[in-house]
Symmetry: C2
Subunit: 385 residues, 2 copies
C-alpha cells in the first residue's frame, strides 16, 4: 500500500514521519512510539495498514491505524527535512541533548519531533525561561506591560517563550529581540511559513536571535486544534507561564490551565476591571489558577530558583515614625500640631499613664521628633530623618 | 480623687464612661468590663485610683489603672450623651438588640459603646452588609469602579459600610446615598464633628439616610491610632470587606487584614499595574489575603449567603462551533475556506479515519455548517445559528 521511499530505520526520519502521520497530542501514537521507538512503530504501522481488517478491531490502536494510514501515501520525511535544511533549520528528537526536557512531562502527548529554525539548543534556552502569552486583541496597556515584563526578564537572563501571534505574543517577542534577549516562538503551523503574515519580519528576527519552532512538519497548516495543542508545548517547555491580557475565551487561558495541570507556576497580570482584555486574567486569579504578577521581578520569582529570584519586598514610602513603638506613636499623635502641652494633659489625651508618656517623650526627643522647655513639650518643626 | 457626678449604676452611662476612659481596642479595659460589667468596672476603677500604690504593682491591670485614671477627673458621660441627643443621636451598648453582632467577634477589643447619629438599628443594617474601603488618594478609575460596585450592592439590598474618608470611602458613601441605599460611616473621631471637613455635607446625608457611628464619644479627636482601631470595627461589623484602591501603606490594607484575621472574606479590585493606587490591592491578591473582585456580583458573592448571591458564570462570546465534538471541529477545520474537498483528502488532512470523517460530516451537515454535492464537501457560506 505504502509508497514510502526513505530509510525507515533512521530514528530522526522516523520521528519526523510520525510528526506528519499523527496530529499533535495523539496519545495513542505517543504510547506506540514510546513503546516501539519511532522506527519500530512506523514499521508496525506499515504492516498493519496492509491488512484489510485492521480498522475493524474497534480498539484504540485499530482506530489509530485508521487515523494515521490515510497519510502514509504522501509520507516524505526526507523531503521535509531537506526543505527545513534549506532554511538552515534542524530537526530535534527526544533523544537529542538539545531537546527541551520540560516536554517530557507531557508523557504520551509529548511531540515526536521539533522542527527548529534558528538556534537548536532549546534545552539550554528553556532551562531558565518564562512563557509570556496573551490576547491577540491586546490593548496599548497590555503591550506596554508586556514590554516592561519582558525587558526585565531578559535582563535577568530568562528566555521568553510565546506563540508568535499578534498582540501580546508579538509584543513579547519584539521586546525580547529589541533588548538583545533570547526568545522562542512555538508555532501551530509549519515553520516554512512565518504565520501570521503581519508578523513575518518579527518572526524572521526571532529565528535570527532565538528560534522559531513547531512540532508539525513544514507545509502544515495552523488549524484551530493545532493552536490548542501547541499551547501545551508553551506550558511544558517553560518554567512558568504569565498571561498578560486575555479575554474570556482567549487561547492564552488554555495555555495557563495546561501549565497549571503540569504543576508549573502560572501568573496573571491584572488590569482595569473595565477592560474586557483583562477579564480572563482576573478569572485566573479568582479561580486560584494564577498568582497576581505586576512586574518582572514577580514574574522572575515565579519561574526562578527560590532565593535567587525572589521579588524584593515592597518598602512603601518611608515615614519619620518608622520604628516607633505603639505608645510613642500615640504620644506623638496626642501632641497638638502647633501648641505645646504638659505631660499630664498628654497622658489624658493619649490615654496612657504618666510613666509611659514620660518614657515615650524621652525616645521621641532622642529621635528629634519632639522638643521641650523643661515643663512643656512640642513637636519639632522639621522631624530629623 | 474623682469628681464624677453621674449615676454610676446606669449601665449605658457607665459604658459611655468607659468609651472615654480607655482608648479603642484596650483589651485590659475590655476584659475588665466583660468581667464586672461597665458599672462594676467603673466602681472598681474609682476605688483603685484612690490608692497611692495602685500604679506600683506592675501588672496589666495596674498599668491600666495608671492609664485610665488621668481621665477620671474630666469624666462627664451624662453631658456627652446629652450632647449626642441634641444631634438626635443614640448611644448603643452591647446588650442593645440594635448592636451589630459582628462586633462580638472582637472579644476583649470590642467597643464599650457606639455613638450613633442616624438610624440606630445597626444590627438590622449590618445583617447584609459589605465594607467598601480604599485609598484617600484615589484615581478616577477607582472612583468609577466604586460607584459601579456600590450601586450593584445597593440594588442587591446590601448596606455599604465605609470610613467616611476622602477618596474611595467618599465615593462608596456617595454612590449608596445617590442610589437610595443604606450606608454607614464608621468614624475615628467623635460624631459631633463630620470629619474631614470636605465630607461634611456627604456625611450629613449619610446620617440622614443611614448612620454615622463612632466608638469614641463626642469631642474625641481622630488620632492616627484611632483610625487603625476604627478599621477593626469596619472589618468586624460587615460580612465581607472589599478594597477598591490602596497604595502600599494605605490604611485600607489594615482593614483588609483585620477582616481576614476575623475570618471574613476579603476582596480586592485589581487595576492597572502601572497605577500606584492599585499596588496594595495587588499585594493582597499576591499574599492570598483577598479574592479578585471585578464587579458587584462578585462582591455580593463574597458577602452573601451561598447560592442566593453566587456570581453568574461568565459565558464568553457564543460560537457556531459550540457543542461540537473534537473530531467534528477537526474535520471542519480541515475543510478549505473556499474550495471543496473529498472525504479521502479530508481524512488525510484531519488525521482521522474515513469512518470518523464521514460521521463528523453527517453531524456538521445536520447543523448546517457544511454542504455536499454527493462526492465533495464544502463549508456553508453562512453557518446556521
Amino acid at each position: 500500500m505504502s509508497t514510502v521511499t526513505f530509510d525507515r530505520d533512521d530514528p530522526v526520519l522516523a520521528a519526523a514521519a510520525w510528526s506528519r502521520l499523527a496530529e499533535p497530542g495523539d496519545e495513542t501514537a505517543g504510547a506506540l512510539v514510546t513503546h516501539l521507538g519511532a522506527a519500530g512503530a512506523l514499521a508496525w504501522l506499515m504492516d498493519q495498514s496492509g491488512c484489510a481488517d485492521a480498522g475493524q478491531r474497534g480498539d484504540a490502536l485499530a482506530a489509530g491505524v485508521a487515523r494515521w494510514s490515510p497519510r502514509l501515501a504522501d509520507l516524505d520525511p526526507s523531503g521535509e527535512v531537506a526543505r527545513l535544511t534549506r532554511f538552515g533549520g534542524t530537526v530535534l528528537v527526544p533523544a537529542d541533548p538539545r531537546w527541551p526536557r520540560g516536554l517530557d512531562d507531557l508523557g504520551a502527548s509529548a511531540p515526536f519531533a521539533l522542527w527548529v529554525r534558528g538556534d537548536p539548543d532549546l534545552a539550554g534556552a528553556c532551562r531558565r525561561s518564562v512563557a509570556v502569552v496573551g490576547a491577540r486583541a491586546s490593548t496599548s496597556y497590555g503591550e506596554h506591560v508586556t514590554g516592561q515584563l519582558v525587558s526585565g526578564l531578559t535582563d535577568r537572563g530568562f528566555t521568553v517563550v510565546s506563540g508568535g501571534a499578534y498582540g501580546i505574543d508579538a509584543a513579547a517577542h519584539r521586546s525580547a529581540v529589541v533588548h538583545g534577549g533570547h526568545t522562542i516562538a512555538l508555532m501551530a503551523g509549519g515553520v516554512d511559513r512565518f504565520y501570521p503574515q503581519g508578523n513575518h519580519e518579527l518572526l524572521r528576527r526571532v529565528a535570527d536571535s532565538g528560534a522559531v519552532v513547531a512540532e508539525v512538519p513544514p507545509g502544515s497548516t495552523p488549524f484551530k486544534q493545532r493552536f490548542l495543542a501547541r499551547n501545551r508545548l508553551i506550558a511544558a517547555a517553560t518554567a512558568a507561564t504569565v498571561v498578560v491580557e486575555a479575554a474570556w475565551r482567549s487561547g492564552a487561558l488554555s495555555t495557563a490551565r495546561r501549565a497549571a495541570d503540569l504543576l508549573r507556576p502560572v501568573g496573571a497580570v491584572p488590569g482595569p476591571v473595565t477592560s474586557m482584555a483583562s477579564g480572563g486574567c482576573h478569572q485566573l486569579l479568582r479561580d486560584g489558577v494564577a498568582t497576581c504578577v505586576t512586574d518582572a521581578a514577580e514574574a522572575a520569582e515565579l519561574a526562578g530558583s527560590l532565593g535567587g529570584d525572589a521579588a524584593p519586598a515592597r518598602a512603601g514610602r518611608a515615614d519619620h515614625t518608622d520604628g516607633l513603638a505603639d505608645v510613642e506613636r500615640v504620644v506623638l499623635d496626642a501632641l497638638p500640631a502647633r501648641r505645646s502641652a504638659d505631660v499630664a494633659s498628654l497622658a489624658r489625651v493619649a490615654g496612657r499613664s504618666l510613666p509611659e508618656v514620660l518614657g515615650a517623650l524621652g525616645i521621641l526627643e532622642s529621635r528629634g521628633l519632639v522638643g521641650t522647655d523643661g515643663a512643656r513639650w512640642r513637636r519639632s518643626r522639621r522631624p530629623a530623618r
